[in-house]
Every structure is written in structure tokens, then in C-alpha cells.
Symmetry: C2
Subunit: 162 residues, 2 copies
DNA sequence: TGTTGACCTGAACATTGGTTGAGCTTTTAT
DNA sequence: ATAAAAGCTCAACCAATGTTCAGGTCAACA
């Protein structure tokens, strides 16, 4: 699991080292710590010291960010790992399978939107009540109730909920 | 296009009417106006009055939002229309073709990400420097320089640019 | 020992897309 | 005429994801 089996343990990383090696800014590491995504202990002089684990965790954070997972959710996911342990391949597998699902849904959603846009581009049907583009209900709530409020109003379509 | 053909011209809409018919909140309409996406004239008592055009414009805004276009860019696009004129089918065609491109790129990007994630899910290779997931360069800058900095560092990979 | 670079905290600022509230005016309905 | 509903402006606030700054401390090198 670790390329250097025993010697490396205990050589803590400073925040600057973690920043350089992980590619995120020191301020972001502070921020992640405040948000509970990573942990550190402190030196005698109150400076942060990190276990090497943190690099793996930051890697997970960065990938999650690319996927578009909000930090709060990443925090939850990381917190769900047995505490004090570095994320293993198996942990990663579990997390990433979940996030993959999320990603897939997002892709699907955007693809539908693209198709609707294609339907609409030539016709300029923005002015029509029937335009699917203007009635996101069937895309956003596709598992939902289905058609409703289809009276046709001429320009807009009525009532908002808020 | 309009159920009432000619009588309706000149019948200005209040902000509340526009809100009801377009499905966006009054506060959002104020906001769009401040940002230059829509315009209004004022009644004798300083209340906003809208031409019916505004409904079409708000429809464009809403679709653009769904696509993920930032308001600033929508503002630019709407401003590029011959001033004072309602967006026609042709205008919409021009705008939406551009945004469709944007959407397509976003879908493509996410799909690549999904494929990388699939490659990675089983292997837990987050710990390896070679993991494509951890090196977004080839996705984000796919037209760019190609492989670089491939030394292998054990855990993180070095230097950030900022 | 001194200096310099790295680090600390807390607060403020930035961005996007608005919402909420206070306090006041206009319009509409009865 | 009057009361209710709708509208007005300005300022503050929300969430997410950080960055930047000020003022002070720590650590490492010569």
C-alpha cells in the first residue's frame, strides 16, 4: 500500500509541501480543513503537520470536484471512511461508483437538453407553449407526474410555485 | 403568434404579470434589468411597464440558464440583437446554435471524464501518478502540449502553476 | 544571531444568481 | 374615500469555493 514500508511513517508534511505536491493552494487546504475534508495535527509551534494520507484524500477531492460533486458531499463521503485510515482502492471504488452514477445522470440530462435544443433551433418555437425547451418539467422531473398544465397561454405559461 | 392579433399592442405588462407569465420571480426580473438583460419603461408613478417582447427575452434567458450559460454572456447575446427588436426565430437560431456548441463541449468533456472514471474505478489508481483522472491536462487541454511531467513521485505530483 | 521564508488567525472580499426585508408609494378594488 | 394589493429602492443576506490582506509567529539557513 505504501512504496516505503516502514521508514516513511512519521515524516509529517507541512502545508506548503502538501500544496506543492497536491497542486492545491495553501488557502484551499486551510479551507478544506475548516470544512472537515482533511485533518492535521500541529507542531510544537502550532503549525499544521499532515500525514501522507492527506495526499490521497486531496486527490479524491480533486477528482470529485472535476465530476462536480459539492464539497459538502465529498466531506460526507470522506467522513464515511473508517476514521484515521487512508482511502484504499476499495474505498475509492465505492465512492467513485456512486459519483459515476451522478455523472452519468448529468450527462444524460445535458444530452436530452441538447436534443431538445436541436429540435428547437430551426423552428424558433420559443414563442410556442408546446416547446419542450421552455417546459423543463419533462426533463427535470422525468420520473415525476407527467403532463400537466398544458392549456396554452399565448406567450408565457403561468404560475410559479415560489 | 398571438391569440389577440392587433388590439394587444401597446398594452404594457406590469412586473407582476411578467413574473406570472414567465415563471420567474419579480426579484429576478429586477435583477435581470439591473444586469441589462431586459428593459422596461416607467409608468407615471414610476412603476415598471414591459413590452410583450420581454416574455420572449425571458424565455431565451431561461433556456440559456438551463444550458448553463452565465447571465453575463446571455446579456451580451441579447444585447447583440438589433436594439428594441424582439428576438425572432432567426435571432434565436443564431444564439442557440452557439450555445448548442457550448453544450456539446460540456457533454463531451463530462463523457471523457466518465470514461476515465470507468478506467479508474476498479484499479484504485488514484495513488499512481499515471492516472488520467488525476492529470486533467489531457482532458482540459486536450488540444495542448501532451505528456509532460511524468516522472512518478510516489504520491502526489509536483508543482502547480499558480 | 539575524534574517528570510513559511506559517498562523481572523476578517474581508470576490463571483454568480438571485431572495428577503424595511420603509414608502402607486394602483386597484370596493 | 379608503383599504388592500402590488410596486418602488436600497441594503443586507444566502450558498459555494475559495483568495487576499493585515498583523504577528515559527523555523531554517548562514
Amino acid at each position: 500500500m505504501d512504496p516505503v514500508p516502514s521508514i516513511d511513517i512519521g515524516k509529517a508534511l507541512t502545508v506548503g509541501e502538501v500544496a506543492r505536491r497536491s497542486g492545491v493552494a495553501v488557502s484551499a487546504l486551510h479551507f478544506y480543513e475548516r470544512k472537515g475534508l482533511i485533518k492535521s495535527h500541529r507542531s510544537a509551534g502550532n503549525q499544521r503537520r499532515y500525514h501522507r494520507d492527506v495526499l490521497r484524500r486531496v486527490a479524491v477531492i480533486k477528482v470529485a470536484q472535476r465530476i462536480g460533486i459539492p464539497l459538502a458531499e465529498v466531506a460526507g463521503a470522506l467522513a464515511s471512511l473508517p476514521s484515521g485510515r487512508s482511502p484504499t482502492a476499495r474505498d475509492w471504488s465505492r465512492l467513485s461508483a456512486r459519483w459515476r452514477q451522478d455523472l452519468e445522470e448529468r450527462i444524460h440530462h445535458l444530452s436530452q437538453l441538447r436534443d431538445q435544443l436541436d429540435d428547437c433551433i430551426g423552428c424558433g418555437c420559443l414563442s410556442l407553449t408546446a416547446c419542450r425547451l421552455r417546459n423543463p418539467g419533462d426533463t427535470l422531473a422525468e420520473t415525476g407526474t407527467g403532463a400537466r398544465r398544458w392549456e396554452g397561454d399565448g406567450e408565457g405559461n403561468g404560475e410559479r410555485q415560489g
